[in-house]
């Protein structure tokens, strides 16, 4: 075979190999590859009728020693994190209840839009067993905000603020014994790939505290899959 053709083929093969290697490295470098699948919980009456019900139970920790990062906190033990996973899978055309136990403190939101409960059934959530539609923007610990691509899939926007644990209840070591528990329910549409992230500026390193944990997948952000 002509040397030139062999050379061209070798270039293509080596190029494809390099691209595949980079892709494999990037995929393996994900901070959180686990997926938490919602637990089926019968059916529930909703404004859209009786729908299959599924639940997720997650927590927010002030550091990464809990959850998927392990007891030593993984690569960034000082990062605040959601857990036990940051990737979630829920069924399509179902009613989903997410319960978030927040062990972290907080300060002020830089946009009080996210102090309000949005996108849930009747626009409310349960905070420590009490109905709430918003909390003071200077008492927010974190938010759980789901959003996604604008084209090719149903719109899904859910944003719920998590009340911060009072500073006096944060112990020197370990987690508070008085976490704030927020529960909210929403309805999914057709199958789609979404993301979620925290809108409280709880990272460091860049403007408005959106660096570090806020800019690293697997801590305060992740994937939210609606499976058909």
């Amino acid at each position: 075979m002509n040397k030139r053709i062999l050379g061209a083929l070798a270039t293509v093969v080596i190029g494809a190999g390099v691209i595949a290697g980079i892709g494999t490295y990037v995929a393996a470098a994900k901070n959180d590859s686990s997926v938490l699948v919602a637990t089926p919980a019968g059916t529930l009456d909703t404004p859209q009728g009786n729908l299959p019900h599924a639940t997720l139970a997650i927590s927010v920790y002030p550091d990464s020693s809990a959850g998927t990062h392990g007891k030593d906190g993984g690569a960034h033990p000082g990062y605040v994190t959601y857990g036990p996973s940051t990737n979630f899978e829920v069924p399509a055309h179902s009613v989903i209840t997410i319960t978030v136990t927040n062990y972290d403190s907080g300060e002020s939101l830089n946009n009080d839009y996210f102090a309000h409960v949005r996108g849930t059934i009747d626009g409310s959530a349960q905070l420590n067993g009490e109905r709430m539609t918003s909390i003071s923007s200077d008492a927010v610990g974190h938010t759980f905000t789901i959003h996604g691509l604008a084209v090719g899939q149903d719109e899904l926007f859910v944003s719920v603020p998590m009340k911060a644990v009072a500073e006096e209840n944060i112990p020197e070591t370990g987690f508070t014994s008085k976490p704030n528990i927020t529960s909210f329910t929403f309805i999914t549409g057709s199958a789609g790939e979404y993301v979620w992230n925290c809108e409280y500026p709880c990272g460091d390193g860049t403007i408005a505290k959106f660096g570090a944990a806020m800019s690293t997948m697997g801590y305060m952000s992740g994937h939210f899959t609606v499976k058909g």
Binding site: N110, N111, Y113, H116, V117, R118, G123, T133, S134, T145, H147, G148, L149, A150, V151, E155, F157, S159, Y194, V195, N197, E199, P201, T206, I207, A208, F210, M214, S215, T216, M217, S221
Partner: protein, 256 residues
């Protein structure tokens, strides 16, 4: 010595290379113009405002204006490759043509390029000027838009708020755009509206949507981890539907 014994050099435009280049130039211009307009411009989004229609028309005009330039370059390349190819180890003999070091040719090229640039500048200003007129409209709806990693929030004059954008059809809207963290860019794809969202500053842009439907609002500035997901929908509805939505959302916001 009589003049008739000297071989007569044909005038430059009668040379075979020039004729060939001229024919190729015409063909290349038509092909590039047609492909550029029909495949590129036609694949752009369907316009939902006069602004976007203006942008598409401008793209069409610019493509045809640029086609002769690209066509000439292509034609000269084809002529050189097909008739001026030189084989062998020795360099080719010096080219014999009149255009080398010709002040007339250089001057012509500068003048043509200048006119093309001036044309592009003036045509662009005309489209921008049309957009600016909407900013001054006294009956325009004034909306505050806030970009944040990685969601847009819209504040309406009556207190309603949303993360997707609702607009009435055929009514001018002015967007006051800012950011609370890093730089974003507010881009309504089908309406041809795009402006930076800078922390600490407010920028303004305006548009009059002229089609009812659902369109796309995206961030056009790489802004971090989930930049690709910083997009939402734009709902253009009738004035009655807009008023109903606005009042409903204002009531929800007050009750929250």
């Amino acid at each position: 010595m009589s003049n008739h014994l000297i071989p007569k050099t044909p005038q430059w435009w009668k040379k075979p290379d020039i004729k060939k280049t001229a024919i190729l130039w015409a063909i290349c211009t038509l092909v590039i113009g047609f492909v550029g307009v029909e495949f590129h411009v036609r694949n752009m989004v369907r316009p939902a405002s006069e602004t976007m229609s203006g942008v598409i028309s401008l793209m069409r005009i610019f493509t045809w204006a640029a086609a002769p330039v690209a066509g000439l370059v292509g034609a000269m390349c084809l002529t050189a490759l097909t008739t001026k190819r030189h084989y062998g180890d020795n360099p080719p003999p010096d080219a014999d043509h009149e255009i080398a070091n010709s002040p007339r040719a250089v001057g012509l090229w500068i003048v043509v390029s200048s006119f093309l640039c001036l044309f592009a500048l003036i045509a662009g200003f005309i489209v921008i000027q049309k957009d600016s007129a909407e900013l001054l409209s006294s009956d325009a709806i004034q909306l505050n838009v806030t970009g944040q990693q990685w969601v847009w929030t819209i504040d309406y004059p009556n207190g309603a708020r949303s993360q997707d954008l609702y607009l009435p059809v055929n009514k001018p809207v002015v967007f006051h755009v800012t950011s609370v963290d890093v730089k974003h860019s507010f881009w309504i794809v089908q309406m041809g509206v795009k402006i930076d969202a800078n922390p600490g500053y407010t920028t303004e842009t305006a548009v009059t949507p002229n089609k009812i439907g659902v369109f796309d609002l995206r961030c056009a500035e790489l802004c971090g981890l989930l930049h690709a997901y910083m997009q939402t929908k734009v709902h253009v509805v009738s004035q009655a539907d807009y008023d109903a939505w606005l009042n409903n959302h204002a009531a929800i916001e007050k009750g929250a």
